[in-house]
Symmetry: C2
Subunit: 542 residues, 2 copies
């Protein structure tokens, strides 16, 4: 990987998230009008109101003594730059003036300063929100007060170092604020890769990946982020906590799994020792089209259960396949559709397969194993152009979303996972819930879905929703999201890789039981007795 | 798998564990005398004293009302049959009369009865020790009172059912009391396998595998037991707790990992939904010899990091290679040694590799990948006879131990794991600690070691110790074990797959921090406020 880091001045983030730059082809707009009822509409962007900082002077002085006064930011733009995440509702807030703004931003230089800041927050009873790339789409970095008189954002981006690399064990220790591209750049210098490429890759950080149990688009080949975690260094109100001494252990419960996914509510992850791999010398991505969702899931399940699945396996349902081509301007022209019709495909489902290998021979062997596993399954090969187009555009989703919002589209994603035998039931339930909630006389939603993470026993489902924005956009999406969550709870997980944050907290008990929530609260009480850490997240306002 | 279940009447367990049957070849005895200073000695077996049951009548009646009076066992032999596990010290106890005997044995029929019994134990303040196959080697099933006036054993072997099988998702729900062979028999009926074959396989149970984070000899191919766990059903003093809805989730910390490894201290696992696989149609096991530990670990590391490692990878160090041949009578004759010398091998390290495949072609492809990865590494192929001999004898360790104890040998195993870059340091440290502790003018220990679980970032180390028993056998081994644990703590995990129990509890804080122990205690207080569950285990006498 030689991606360039995309480190935007956080003070300019409001502009970026509200701002243009991305454009839709004319065909795509026409398709949206025909398919959803979208009408041309201007999208006003109003000023965002920034309240005065409520941080007591004594706390400010204490923080300044730890990190230096230049790293305690209290100006409106700086605070606004770390206010909230990047969900559709967050972006609506940026456009419409409703943003929860923290009282200050603290920029520690190292794990020791993080530890001192936490202890200082306890002393001054100030809430503290860990913040890396700020890419949460579930309210995970919202600066909620939750009973505290003030709340500060702990900006971790100065913790940007590769602390150690053990090439024999293939373990790298990275600080929490290292972004995806920076991690790849630093590891690439010695021929290694982490292999973690979620859609948030360009801006999200190592600490955030760990805190939210992230999963990357190459999870078939590299595993979920939690599978990469060897050791953790965590700052807590009770002192530093270090976990992990061996790849695997039977020394009681694996407490690394209690920290991974804890969303900053139990402690702030400052360093993570991660399994790394040798950078692949050869890559190949190809597109295929299968006829219908059933054939598509059959292919993905075969690969997951019987081996040979390579590095990336990503299946779009017919709706997402349509959206994908349409937003690139290719669908409306009918070229793709005609090509596939001529080959007898009634309901095209795009399957992107990617292989990475030590060398060309290794790559070829992996590809052969995949194709052998899919033998006998009718499919149309679209070759490497489609595969490579996906690979090059795979982090573009957020920018495309900006462009869609510009023209008046309500656009958001949500995701879940379940076992194979319930996957179709779950997909239907979520689709129905979203349709029922969003369809009106004037507006028809497009609900598209893909599988991008598959396991021997099941798979994830990732939904993208497009619908013309209503006069009450917050109410429109809030109701739809609630309907989807209610359809999911009990059948699938309330989140496969977006985490709980604020948005999914009401559904957590359905998934882990009231006992599970009680256990999380007991752990929080033990580690964070006064509740300064990421107030209101994960277990709500306990 | 078509192994026959080996369900011994628990009442006869004392006889079995103390009993003969296994014999050592004359060559092996001669080797032991020469190598360790062992002298012929009779091993007296004295009566084990069984104290009166201290179970209050009210509690007995309450238990009987739940499971029926015939399933509340209070006779001495029945209670003795579930007293303690199978560590060397346990076995010494059986021979010398010092056994901690529970006050009763309860035999529930289903998860509902388990739940009721736990609630009844809370009501009567009676400690409860979950008991499956009773194969713990760390004191995990010792019937400690830890402040309670009485303690009962919860014998789970009547929970012996395959509850459900989902062939599409390849998930099977098994009750906690199902033994390894029974699981394979029931799953085999539909062409599936669990693939979990620890040395305790013949007697240990699903619940025990989960409660102790077990790892089987085929972990290279099938993964550790925790990797198979999809869902858990747990009975706790606070009610039933069900966990797991998807293969993977970001709905907060993964609490399944808090239950797996909790050793009955947080709840009693009554059912586990497990990932299963298609039973392999083809198997092949081969032996190879590499020259020296460094060459051997290089081979295992290559396979773990660069792929192609198949189903079983097991490397013996030179000492274990010697022991393995010697106890079979082959070493002393010099045949093997001469064969290897003739091929230039100075320090033979046995490497057993096993492959399982869907069919012969799949198997051949897997084997080719392994041999390709090992290309260029000097090795002597011993072929399938050695591989198959290992496979057929792989559960015989406990029986061999009985035979060695018969002739006066102190014989025990212990294990750990760490990352590759510290593996040699850890092996040396443990060897030195054991040698220093056990060597006397009359006695020389044999300390043998193997790797049977390897990961991309590190591997396990499993030590077998043989030394002539001293006049104070308990003191002899207690000191040696303490020395080994102190050498391990901080460098490797205090247990890779044997769990914490009583024996490793003093070292737990070194591994997970005082904060980690506090967190476990907080969880225990939340789920088991009066401390009836497996008193004194995992977190000691909190």
């Amino acid at each position: 990987m030689t991606s360039t880091p995309d480190q935007i001045d956080p003070g300019l983030r409001a502009t970026w998230t509200a701002g243009g730059g991305a454009h839709l082809p004319a065909d795509a707009l026409a398709w949206l009008r025909e398919r959803t009822g979208l009408r041309p509409s201007a999208t006003p962007v109003t000023e965002v109101a920034v309240p005065e900082s409520a941080l007591p002077e004594a706390a400010r002085a204490a923080f300044a003594a730890i990190v230096g006064p230049e790293h305690v930011l209290v100006l409106g733009d700086d605070r606004l730059g770390r206010a909230g995440g990047l969900s559709y509702l967050d972006l609506l807030g940026w456009r419409g003036g409703e943003v929860v703004v923290p009282d200050a931003v603290l920029r520690p230089a190292d794990p020791g300063q993080v530890q001192s800041l936490i202890e200082s927050c306890v002393e001054h009873d100030v809430g503290l929100v860990p913040f890396g790339g700020g890419t949460s789409v579930v309210g995970g970095v919202k600066a909620l007060r939750a009973g505290k008189s003030a709340v500060v954002v702990l900006d971790l981006t100065r913790l940007d170092k590769l602390v150690a690399l053990d090439p024999v064990s293939r373990v790298a220790v990275l600080q929490a604020g290292v972004t995806g591209p920076e991690a790849e750049r630093m590891l690439g210098a010695s021929g290694h890769t982490l292999g973690h490429f979620p859609q948030s890759f360009e801006r999200a950080t190592i600490g955030g990946f760990a805190a939210t149990r992230s999963s990357g688009q190459a999870s078939a080949g590299y595993g979920r982020f939690e599978a990469m975690v060897e050791r953790l260094r965590v700052a807590t109100p009770r002192g530093e906590w270090r976990l992990g001494v061996a790849p695997a252990s039977a020394a009681g419960p694996d407490l690394r799994h209690l920290v991974v996914g804890s969303e900053g509510a139990f402690g702030v992850i400052t360093e993570v020792a991660l399994r790394v791999r040798r950078e692949p010398a050869a890559r190949r991505y190809e597109g295929f089209v299968l006829d219908g969702w059933a054939a598509g899931t059959d292919a993905v399940r075969r690969l997951a259960q019987d081996g040979g699945r390579g590095t990336v396996v990503r299946l779009s349902d017919p709706q997402e396949t349509e959206v994908g081509f349409a937003l690139k301007g290719g669908w409306k022209t009918g070229v793709v559709r005609r090509y596939l019709r001529a080959r007898g495909v009634a309901e095209p489902c795009l399957l992107v397969l990617g292989w990475e290998g030590r060398d060309k021979a290794d790559l070829a062997a992996r590809r052969r194993a995949t194709l052998r596993a899919l033998r006998g399954l009718p499919k149309v090969a679209l070759g490497t152009p489609v595969g490579e187009a996906w690979r090059h555009g795979r982090f573009a989703g957020p920018r495309q979303r900006d462009a869609l919002m510009e023209v008046g589209v309500c656009v958001e994603t949500l995701e879940t996972a379940t076992r194979w035998s319930r996957l179709d039931e779950l997909r239907e339930a979520v689709r129905t819930a979203l349709f029922d909630s969003l369809t009106t006389a004037e507006r028809t939603p497009v609900v598209a879905c893909h599988i991008s993470h598959s396991y021997e026993t099941g798979a994830s489902l990732y939904f993208t929703v497009l619908v013309p924005r209503s006069a009450d956009p917050v109410g429109q999406w809030t109701a739809a999201k609630r309907a989807a969550c209610e359809a999911i709870a009990g059948v699938g997980t309330i989140s496969h890789h977006h985490a709980v944050g604020v948005d999914h907290a009401p559904y957590l008990a359905e998934e882990i039981g009231e006992l599970g929530v009680d256990v999380l609260r007991a752990v929080k009480r033990e580690l964070d007795p006064t509740g300064v850490l990421n107030p209101g997240k994960l277990v709500g306002d306990a």
